[in-house]
């Protein structure tokens, strides 16, 4: 069996289909190798190697965007390469590139090993890319666990900080629980789809196509075990997305985790969840009688919880975490709509890209403003930022404006597409909730902007300001942050290929 698979793979050279993932893995190993080989003085250059390597892979991926393997299955149907998968691959690669950049700003402020961080980021990105293309529950679970285990390490990476360790422990417990739920769901589906007593049972109950054909047969979609399995799998994914009622871990973990990891969790992990959700939604389409109402309620509760809980936060990492919960809600709104309106898929992708650009702009500013204690990032620390560092303040405003969905920024276009899709799908009630969410969110985003622009440092703030070193923005960071801010503005005005991608569907 194994040799068959290898021979088959070699014959059609399917390895070429996953060259970005393979190169990421090689790059990750190269970093570790370099650390052993290079003298201590030159080790500072290792993150740059990671940065350049990822940029090279990104270029390679973009050139080969329309590969021959598009719309085919490889590795014995473990992977399925689709347009959506390609888009998400680009997304994850960009995200890991930016996380590397954030790491270069944030890590030197701490006494921690450096290279392993970049290594793990690369491995996680490769796993996320595979996750977005998985076509089999084994593939899905292995990739997902690679991501999750990587995050266990990353979240508690600042091992001298009790906050980071606490966050790591919480994430470990919650992550294990979610993996357990997911696995239980997969096992139920496996059992019921492979049950010879049922009509339409399949020999490949773990494969997505086999499972889909089983669910589509007769009344199988209403079978109790199948429905329970679908719900449990959804619950497992909801943990990753941070959707209600599985969002409890988010504020603590986001606060404790190192800022670059928080960004990676907020953007990468969330997007990975949505990529999987889209794939599974197609597989589970016969169960939409169950999924649509469940996700609808979930989306409404997520939007409301995220926004209202964020209102009272003073720690910016917690605030961003909870606002991220509300963004997950808006994205879920798009997911629900995508069941009937194909355009919603593109809308969600656009939203994810807008969210990526804006979030990393904001996290980039946070990485600069943060002092030695990474978990202690209060709104007060931003008082008077516009005077002390106008560049960071401008980037912050653009990022937050886009997150708040204010035109003419990219975030507004994302919300608009999702609202149009939701309207087309007829989810009026959910749309009303979303509007309430947007208006509420304006309050806390502007609270932050207010702190940066309208407030002068108070007496206690002065002490903080005095105790923290002058913020200096390096050249690479300056270029990247400028690019992020400009992309956020430009995407609001001119959507170009991304707009076509949304509209095509």
């Amino acid at each position: 069996m194994t040799t068959d698979l290898l021979q088959q793979a070699a014959a059609s050279n399917q390895w070429a289909a996953i060259f970005p993932e393979l190169s990421l893995g090689c790059l990750a190993l190269l970093l570790l190798g370099l650390e052993m080989v290079l003298p201590k003085d030159n080790q500072r250059q290792i993150p740059l190697v990671a940065l350049v390597g990822q940029a090279g892979i990104l270029v390679g991926l973009l050139i080969n965007f329309y590969t021959a393997t598009l719309d085919t299955e490889t590795f014995n149907s473990l992977l399925r390469h689709t347009h959506q998968g390609q888009v998400m691959r680009v997304f994850f690669l960009v995200a890991s590139l930016l996380v590397t950049m954030l790491g270069m700003i944030s890590l030197p402020k701490q006494k921690v090993p450096r290279v392993e961080f970049y290594h793990i980021v690369l491995v996680i990105s490769a796993a996320m890319m595979l996750l977005a293309q998985s076509n089999h529950f084994v593939m899905l679970f292995v990739a997902l666990e690679t991501v999750t285990v990587g995050f266990y390490i990353l979240v508690s990476y600042f091992r001298t900080s009790p906050f980071s360790l606490e966050a790591g422990l919480k994430y470990l417990v919650m992550g294990a629980l979610s993996s357990g739920l997911l696995l239980f769901g997969i096992a139920l589906l496996y059992g019921v789809a492979g049950n010879p007593a049922l009509p339409g049972h399949t020999a490949e109950p773990m494969g997505f196509s086999g499972l889909h054909s089983f669910l589509a047969t007769g009344a199988n979609a209403h079978h109790f075990l199948a429905a329970s399995g679908v719900l449990l799998v959804l619950a497992g994914i909801a943990f990753k997305i941070g959707a209600f009622p599985f969002q409890i871990w988010i504020p603590d973990v986001y606060q404790g985790a190192p800022t670059p990891v928080t960004a990676f969790l907020a953007v990468g992990s969330k997007a990975a969840g949505f990529a999987v959700l889209f794939n599974l939604l197609q597989v589970f389409s016969p169960c939409s009688w169950l999924l649509v109402p469940v996700i609808t309620v979930m989306a409404a509760a997520t939007i409301l919880f995220g926004n209202f809980a964020a209102l009272t936060q003073h720690n910016v990492k917690r605030l961003l975490g909870l606002s991220g919960v509300s963004h997950a809600g808006f994205l879920l709104l798009g997911v629900v709509a995508s069941v009937t309106v194909p355009m919603a898929v593109g809308a969600v992708h656009f939203y994810l890209f807008a969210y990526l650009l804006a979030s990393f702009a904001v996290f980039g500013v946070m990485a600069h403003v943060a002092g030695a204690n990474d978990a202690d990032q209060e709104l007060d620390h931003y008082a008077g930022l516009a005077k002390t560092n106008p560049f960071l303040a401008a980037v912050l405003v653009i990022g937050l404006g886009s997150l708040a969905g204010i035109p003419p920024l990219a975030g507004f276009m994302g919300k608009l597409f999702i609202f149009v899709a939701a309207f087309k799908a007829g989810h009026y009630g959910l749309l009303g909730v979303a509007i309430v969410g947007v208006v509420v969110s304006i309050y806390y985003y502007f609270g932050w902007i207010k702190a940066a622009f309208f407030e002068t440092p108070t007496a206690s703030g002065d002490e903080c300001q005095a105790s923290r070193p002058q913020i200096s923005v390096g050249l690479v960071a300056r270029v990247v942050l400028t690019l992020l801010a400009m992309a956020t503005v430009v995407l609001g005005f001119y959507q170009g290929p991304l707009g076509v991608w949304v509209a095509l569907r």
């Binding site: 355009m343 404006g401 204010i406 035109p407 003419p408 507004f412 608009l416 597409f417 609202f419 149009v420 309207f423 087309k424 749309l431 509007i435 947007v438 208006v439 304006i442 309050y443 502007f446 207010k450 622009f453 309208f454 407030e455 005005f493 001119y494 959507q495 170009g496 290929p497 991304l498 707009g499 076509v500 949304v502 509209a503 095509l504």
Partner: protein, 507 residues
């Protein structure tokens, strides 16, 4: 699909925006100010040029200067379509003139961090030109928000008393209004089944396939309250006086003068012609809110104000009540009156805010009880203020008169009761307007004022303040004496979009 190099509408949006971008990328201050003159003057010159060329020019689907530009969203039916019809032309001209006056006033104001202030004003100016030049309803909304965001920042950073609270309140109220109207516009797009956000296509499509009555009613309700919040419809008006009271003068001029008209413009250009059955359901509630709330209640509140800027803010809320009454009439006459009133009110309220700030520079207070007898020291300022007040009351000879008169006539056809109540409002506005003039400029000089002015006696208006004021006053008088320059194109467009007067009267 005409693409010529010279597109006055696109240029009037692009020039201020380009100047703003140039300033954002670190132009030195001297050049920033020089370029800012270009950025404010170009739209005004282009708009005047467009105004003169409008009559007799070629028209396409009722729009002159129609052009399309693809921004990558054509698959969704969104293209940047620019054009002017009889409804948008007056407002386009208004936006350019008030923008020029506000810009000139801002340049001479010497505000702190002037470069960024001018940059935000230029972005606002570009957005305003875009709002009225857009035929595509998506870009219509988009440009509105582009103009709205700088307002929040300007109020928060350069504002006066309570600026943080005012900025926050303004942001939340206006976002709510904008979101409601956005949902209304999306609903209109999706429910119509047309595949374009383009107003021309949408109108033709809806003429062939009218929407059901319930749908029309719901969408009109959304648009009415959404746009209503933006125009300060009672009881959702509380952001306006507070915001204008705190806003720096140029931002208040542009917002109260032009940007606020976005909601009314949306109702007249989009909601009324496309949702005729929806208007029927809402016209009486709307008229009642407007006449009781905006005109009478707010009118009485305005009379009780001591703060000059707050008073002007309240008076602008009150005048919007007349505009809503004109909308509620749902006739070509009423809508035409609203457009004229919007232009007139935009010019006069901008002039009042400008003069109020000039008064503040000389007296260091907005409290009318602490000012008195200013006319002896600053006769020119007094003359301007009296003229602006009379215009705002609606004296014949000023543009406001034609707007209010037309609305009252249309309102009489609609309901004589409302018309009677609305006319009482004119008396109220005469009382507070003239009382403000009397308190500030005439009577004995107060002790508080003489303490302030003993060190530096108040000088009369400087030329740098006079020029923007003159621009606004000249426009008010020009339209007041020759309303036909606006009403001829307006009539042509309204006649096509609205039911004939006979029909409206029969309703």
């Amino acid at each position: 699909m005409i693409h010529s190099l010279y597109d006055p509408l696109l240029l009037s949006i692009a020039v201020p925006l380009a100047v703003a971008v140039a300033i954002a990328f670190g132009l030195p201050k001297r050049w920033s100010v020089r370029l800012a003159y270009v950025g404010f003057a170009a739209p005004a010159l282009l708009a005047l040029c467009v105004w003169t060329r409008y009559a007799g020019g070629p028209q396409d689907h009722g729009y002159a200067f129609l052009t399309h530009y693809n921004t990558g969203l054509s698959g969704l039916g969104i293209t940047l379509t620019l054009g002017l019809n009889g409804i948008s032309l007056p407002l386009f001209v208004l936006a350019s003139l008030v923008g020029l006056a506000a810009g000139l006033y801002a340049i001479q104001s010497g505000a702190e961090r002037l470069k960024i202030y001018l940059m935000l004003l230029l972005v606002m100016q570009a957005g305003l030109m875009g709002v009225f030049a857009s035929v595509d309803i998506f870009f219509f909304y988009f440009f509105h928000e582009l103009a709205l965001i700088p307002t929040f920042i300007m109020v928060g950073v350069w504002g006066g008393r309570d600026r943080t609270y005012a900025a926050m309140k303004l942001t939340i109220y206006l976002t709510l209004g904008a979101m409601l109207s956005l949902v209304g516009l999306i609903a209109l797009y999706v429910k119509s089944g047309a595949t374009s956000f383009d107003l021309i296509t949408l109108r033709d499509y809806l003429a062939a396939h009218p929407l059901g009555e319930t749908v029309q009613k719901n969408i009109f309700g959304l648009l009415m309250f959404g746009f209503g919040i933006l125009v300060s419809l009672w009881p959702l008006h509380t952001w306006a006086p507070l915001g204008y009271g705190a806003a720096p003068s140029s931002a208040a001029m542009l917002h109260a003068g032009v940007l606020k008209k976005f909601g009314l413009y949306g109702l007249i250009q989009i909601a009324l012609p496309l949702l005729p059955a929806g208007v029927g359901h809402w016209s009486h509630p709307l008229a009642l809110l407007a006449v009781v709330g905006n005109v009478l209640v707010i009118g009485l509140i305005t009379m009780a104000q001591r703060d000059l800027k707050q008073m002007i803010g309240y008076s602008s809320v009150m005048h919007m009540g007349y505009a809503f009454l004109g909308v509620a009439c749902f006739s070509a006459l009423g809508a035409g009156g609203v457009v004229l009133l919007m232009v007139a009110h935009g010019l006069s309220v901008a002039l009042l805010f400008l003069l109020a700030t000039s008064i503040h520079h000389r007296t260091h207070t907005f409290d009318m009880d602490e000012i008195g007898g200013l006319a002896q020291k600053t006769p020119v300022l007094a003359a301007f203020f009296v003229a602006a007040t009379l215009a705002s009351i609606g004296l014949p000879g000023f543009a406001n008169f034609w707007g209010e008169l037309t609305i009252f006539i249309a309102l009489w056809h609609f309901s004589p009761l409302y018309a009677t109540l609305a006319v009482i409002g004119v008396v109220i506005s005469a009382i507070y307007g003239l009382r403000a003039v009397a308190r500030v400029f005439f009577g004995p000089s107060t002790e508080a004022l003489s303490q302030v002015t003993v060190a530096n006696p108040p000088a009369d208006l400087r030329w740098s303040e006079k020029i923007p004021a003159l621009i606004l006053l000249a426009a008010l008088l020009f339209i007041g004496f020759w309303p036909k320059s606006l009403s001829t194109p307006l009539n042509a467009t309204l006649a096509a979009a609205y039911p004939a007067p006979a029909q409206a009267a029969a309703k």
